[in-house]
């Protein structure tokens, strides 16, 4: 039985940020749709995979002894 989690940040100016964690599931989609109907226009939507994509770190090590 999976747990669905939605995290909201309601800014002081009333802007709402919604983050659906993990696999969204039908319930989360219904909640999102209901909110968007009641609240207003969606300004931005992005997938969290992209939103939280860490910059890739490239490292390279040189052998201590170059011959």
């Amino acid at each position: 039985m999976p747990q669905r989690t939605v995290r909201f940040t309601i800014r002081p100016d009333g802007r709402v940020e919604e983050l659906v964690e993990g696999v969204s599931g039908e319930a989360c989609q219904q909640l999102t749709e209901r909110l968007e109907a009641a609240l207003g226009t969606v300004e931005r939507r992005e997938s969290t995979a992209e939103a939280f994509h860490q910059p890739e770190v490239q490292s390279q090590s040189l052998p201590n002894h170059l011959h």
């Binding site: 995290r7 100016d13 039908e26 969290t48």
Partner: protein, 130 residues
């Protein structure tokens, strides 16, 4: 796939608007109401908060935008905070009430609610799916 959305809140529904006004300590009158301004001139609103010495404010439904708009005589604004801040506070309250109500309707439970240092309200809701 999980997703992240940002919604610009508009005052689209009457009930959460009335509730938000109540939360801020106002008792609005519903139905077509006059909002008094300078020298007793009035405009009609769908929701009005009358102040003792005039300088009422109200909300009027705008068909075009599909949202309620604040109507008031700015020269007679008598609230403790400037009108922009008042509208922000009201909109945040409206958004919170709407999010809470929609979450409960969809079977979610509030797991966490806190006010952050910058004045944002953080709310976490969860639901177990069968």
């Amino acid at each position: 796939m999980s997703h992240f959305s940002t919604v610009k809140t508009e005052l689209r529904q009457l009930d959460p608007l009335v509730q938000a006004l109540n939360d801020l300590g106002y008792s609005p009158d519903q139905g077509e109401r006059p909002v008094r301004g300078y020298r007793g001139q009035t405009v009609t609103a769908d929701l009005a908060v009358s102040m003792d010495n005039g300088g009422d404010f109200g909300f009027r439904w705008n068909e075009k935008t599909g949202a309620y708009e604040l109507v008031t005589d700015l020269d007679l604004w008598k609230q403790a905070i400037p009108i922009e801040r008042f509208l922000s506070k009201l909109t945040q309250r409206y958004a919170l009430n709407t999010v809470l109500k929609a979450s409960v309707t969809e079977g979610f439970q509030v797991a966490e609610q806190q006010v952050k240092q910058d004045g944002s309200i953080e709310l976490v809701v969860t639901r177990w799916d069968v």
